[in-house]
Assembly symmetry: C2
Homo-oligomer: 252 residues x 2
């Protein structure tokens, strides 16, 4: 299962580096997938796509721009949102939907800025889906014409597969995660409308080349927009806010 997170067994590859002959599997052999798994996966993603289209129409009718922020845990999404709200709220209504397995920690941080916020706790879940967003929007009741940030569960794999009906997907990666993440998690970076490279103030202390990280983003998705920034120092935050100011609702 878990193929709704994309974990289909079909494309798993096992490889010995440096060659080496294959041996009989010695009672440790691959097993057939369970019947019905592929069908359930397909049905779940189809259902999600249907609900996402519904969300997209609902948002477009109200002139609301919804942005889906995705990243590894700890990339700095919540801090970025707090700073962004401070910059934008005086000129445009901003609201937030927070996704986490547990706790209201992030929602409380957003609430302290004065922005309306809804916390979605997924429990055991690894991503937000279109149904959860619908439920969050129904509680949030965002103002027409507003900007709604959706902070997804911290996970660089599963959220990439789930259309929420958002206007754009923004992937955040911090320089402390290393420069190879776009290559190792290409599904996520290939769906990004924009990549934010956060924590560039830490570049002097880590063995990471910003130019290599940018190049890897573009090798996975040629032409993708990439903005380096630091929430701590504020460098690059202006360019991000400029990008937001011209963002438009998805076509419903």
């Amino acid at each position: 299962m878990c193929g709704t997170c994309g974990c289909g067994e079909a494309d798993v590859r096992v490889e010995v580096l440096g060659g080496g002959r294959r041996q009989p599997h010695d009672h440790l052999h691959a097993h057939d997938p369970l019947p019905g798994v592929v069908e359930i996966e397909t049905a779940l993603l189809a259902k999600n796509d249907h609900l996402a289209a519904h969300n997209r129409s609902w948002l477009a009718e109200r002139g609301i721009v919804a942005l889906n922020l995705m990243s590894s845990p700890g990339s700095g999404k919540t801090s970025l949102l707090r700073r962004t709200i401070t910059e934008l709220a005086p000129v445009r209504p901003v609201a937030v939907i927070e996704g986490d397995q547990e706790t209201r920690i992030d929602a409380e941080k957003i609430r302290a800025t004065g922005a309306p916020v809804v916390q979605i706790n997924t429990g055991a879940g690894c991503h937000l889906d279109a149904d959860m967003l619908a439920r969050g929007l129904a509680e949030l009741r965002p103002t027409d014409g507003s900007l709604v940030f959706i902070e997804n569960v911290g996970n660089l794999v599963c959220p990439a597969l789930f259309d929420l009906g958002e206007a754009a997907k923004v992937v955040v990666v911090s320089v402390t995660e290393g420069e190879d993440k776009p290559l190792k998690y290409p599904q996520m970076f290939s769906v990004a409308d924009l990549v934010l490279i956060n924590k560039i103030d830490l570049l002097p202390y880590v063995d990471v080349g910003l130019e290599h990280l940018v190049a890897h983003c573009r090798s996975v998705y040629p032409g993708v927009g990439v903005l380096p920034l630091s929430v701590t120092t504020g460098e690059g935050v202006g360019a991000w806010c400029d990008w937001l100011r011209v963002s438009e609702p998805a076509t419903g």
Copy 2:
């Protein structure tokens, strides 16, 4: 589905902070889960548990200690393994199974140390499972009595649910991810036999209290072993290697 990653819809909670009255859902309402999903999830996890028990027996018969390393992307698992292999390989055979969605980058880094290594690419998958480990071990053919490190796919959610048949689960978290991760991802931290807090050399540059991070690990799992370390400076690596030297195979 995706409930094999734990994403059952049953335990999703949506909450407005600061109160606010509920409104009619305005055509954005929760939908019933698809039939068959729970049954498939249960069957998949049961199948995994069966294969994990098989792996555990296979490893125990050979006196092999398998350790499952789990973390967010970019916590420094591969760098830690390279340093660990340098310390331990002179006194004990060490081998590695690398899990990533794509690329052989990590396996090539391990291979450069001289340790035997197998790369498992999961494609769209978000975690290793017991069947993948069985296939990896069949290719790796680890020496009897050896230490086998399994570097799981970088993901702080889904791998927590899948028993591989390992002797111990080691969770790695870096200080740059923030001090709240154990609270926000409690499933992962509650299955840890040991938590390694990496990148403590970066503490002077981030707004994170090591004592808070340790306390949060123990609030989720009282009594769990926690070792702070820095692969870059080597601080704490000795204590980690001491822990490894006394590790024993799981009872098969």
